[in-house]
């Protein structure tokens, strides 16, 4: 069975800074995978490179078996991969309905059916369909961003920190909708989050990105309790927590291995 998404040896530099170093991973159809990590780890850049907002110079990306490495962004969207960007990035001076219509820019023929499905998942958007997107609350804008992405009939949806600036309740709602979309539509989801706990509750599998490379991967349930995560985020925790010597030794090794 072909993967819904294959990312192979992707590297990326901003000028002189190496942000991504040979990142590879695969996602099966209908899986929810989360990529967590501290700030500056490269998570946003990774999603932007996969979605072709940035140029892909090193490595390759395939969506549903089709190689999207050389495509332009519009082509990637047509191939079935869409990004819900960090900070929502809705078209603030246009209405909710217009935002959704633009989301379906590459799938104009299916517009009517798709927009009905979006309103079905997000009744609040239907209520506010003539309102300017910039006047919506943060949570509503997040819903709009997801709905807008849905309008391109994607098979893979990438989300960049959807919980940013949202209350815990709102975050839970967003996560719930994502779960629904996976269950009912078979949508494959890659979720980048700083909020590790919420993401690991929703996801099947997870990766920990630090310094531009994956330092940890596994089933979400296992990662949830891994002290390495807390250490990477806040530093120093390993020395004060009672952990197994083998894990501690492994943590030490990670620190000394982490070089240029």
């Amino acid at each position: 069975m072909t993967d819904a998404l294959t990312v192979d040896n992707v590297s990326f530099s901003y000028g002189r800074a190496r942000v991504l170093r040979d990142v590879s991973f695969r996602v099966d159809e209908g899986e929810i995978v989360t990529i967590i990590g501290p700030n500056g780890a490269g998570k946003s850049t990774l999603l932007n490179v996969i979605a072709r907002s940035h140029k892909l110079r090193k490595g390759s990306v395939s969506v549903g078996g089709a190689d999207t490495s050389g495509m332009r962004q519009a082509g990637v969207v047509r191939a079935g991969l869409v990004l819900v960007p960090e900070g929502r990035q809705v078209f603030s001076t246009l209405s909710v309905a217009d935002n959704l219509q633009l989301g379906g820019y590459t799938h104009r023929k299916e517009h009517k059916r798709l927009v009905e499905e979006v309103y079905g998942y997000f009744p609040r958007l239907f209520e506010r369909r003539d309102q300017l997107a910039g006047t919506l609350s943060g949570g509503e804008q997040q819903m709009l961003a997801v709905g807008r992405a849905y309008m391109s009939e994607p098979s893979v949806m990438l989300l960049d920190e959807p919980s940013l600036g949202l209350s815990p309740q709102m975050t839970a709602q967003v996560m719930a909708v994502l779960g629904k979309l996976r269950r009912e539509r078979g949508l494959t989801i890659v979720l980048v989050e700083q909020n590790a706990h919420a993401a690991l509750e929703l996801a099947d599998r997870g990766y920990l990105l630090n310094g531009g490379e994956f330092v940890l991967e596994g089933a979400a349930a296992d990662l949830r309790d891994d002290p390495m995560i807390r250490h990477i985020y806040l530093g120093g925790a390993a020395s004060s927590d009672p952990v197994a010597p083998s894990v501690e030794a492994a943590l030490e090794k990670e620190l000394t291995d982490d070089e240029a």
Binding site: P85, F91, S92, L94, S152
Partner: protein, 289 residues
């Protein structure tokens, strides 16, 4: 009162022209933050297209040809000179438009000479008398064409998907890319519309005065003032701004000194830029330098 009415009527027609050129600036600026210094010359190129066409067809279709020529020249300009520089600073892109403007102007001069050109108006007949002022029939046509063009553009931006995509691109080009809207497609549309409205309306003015190859500089400056008054954003206010500029110009010419009227208008441009760069709008004009 008669005099005032006459001035108003003249200003309406000339102002519609300035406003149309201003709209040309605004459409391109909304897209990328760039000021197209060749705007006036593109309009002149369109007008000359109409002049050439007028030898083969009646005035109204010739004016349409003028609009098409203006749009074409604008699109070619984008693809040859601006698109290759899209990763350079806005400054470089702006200087290039200066060069293109000169090139168009001098090319027209080489092709058509420096003398004035004209063609017949759409309808022949006496000028309309309105409240003591006279307005030539062709000027009414001009205003009508400008208004129709404005309404068409407004409908385009508000109702069509392509128009909304253009607006979306101006608001957030990153997000526009994410939904699959491409810069090249949007830019082509923007430049085409910009050249078409400026060229078409200028072509409509030719029968009531005339056109020369070098008219682009002054027209470009006056259209720029109209664009400033519209905050480089609102099409309707740009039209209004154009009428305001025209009114100041004709009033000064009538009551003070006809020769120095353009000078005053240009000086007003400088003052306006310094004192009130957002023009008639309330917000501050975004300058993406």
């Amino acid at each position: 009162m008669d005099v005032l009415m006459q001035l108003l009527l003249t200003a309406l027609a000339t102002g519609a022209l300035y406003g149309a050129i201003g709209i040309g600036y605004v459409i391109v600026h909304r897209l990328s933050g760039m000021v197209n210094f060749a705007m006036g010359d593109i309009a002149v190129a369109g007008a000359f297209g109409a002049v050439v066409a007028s030898a083969m067809m009646p005035p109204l279709p010739a004016i349409l040809v003028g609009a098409i020529v203006g749009g074409l020249v604008s699109v070619v300009m984008y693809h040859l000179t601006i698109h290759p520089l899209r990763h350079q600073s806005l400054m470089v892109q702006t200087i290039v438009t200066l060069g293109v403007g000169i090139a168009i102007r001098s090319l027209l001069q080489l092709m058509f000479g420096t003398g004035p050109k004209q063609f017949a108006p759409i309808t022949d007949g006496p000028a309309f008398d309105i409240l003591g002022g006279a307005i030539p029939q062709q000027s009414v046509w001009l205003i009508a064409i400008a208004v129709v063009g404005y309404i068409g553009l407004a409908l385009f931006f508000d109702r069509t998907l392509a128009g909304k995509a253009l607006s979306a691109f101006s608001v957030n080009s990153y997000a526009a890319g994410i939904v699959g809207i491409s810069l090249t497609g949007m830019a082509t549309i923007a430049f085409a519309l910009s050249g078409a409205i400026a060229g078409g309306v200028l072509a409509a003015q030719v029968p009531t005065s005339f056109i020369t190859a070098g008219a682009g500089v002054a027209l470009g400056l006056k259209g720029f003032i109209a664009a400033i008054l519209g905050g480089f954003d609102k099409l309707g206010l740009t039209l209004v701004g154009g009428v305001l500029v025209a009114f100041v110009e004709v009033a000064f010419a009538r009551f003070v000194d006809a020769a120095q009227a353009p000078t005053v208008v240009f000086a007003l441009l400088i003052v306006l830029l310094i004192v009130r760069p957002q023009g008639l709008t309330r917000k501050v004009a975004a300058d993406r330098v």
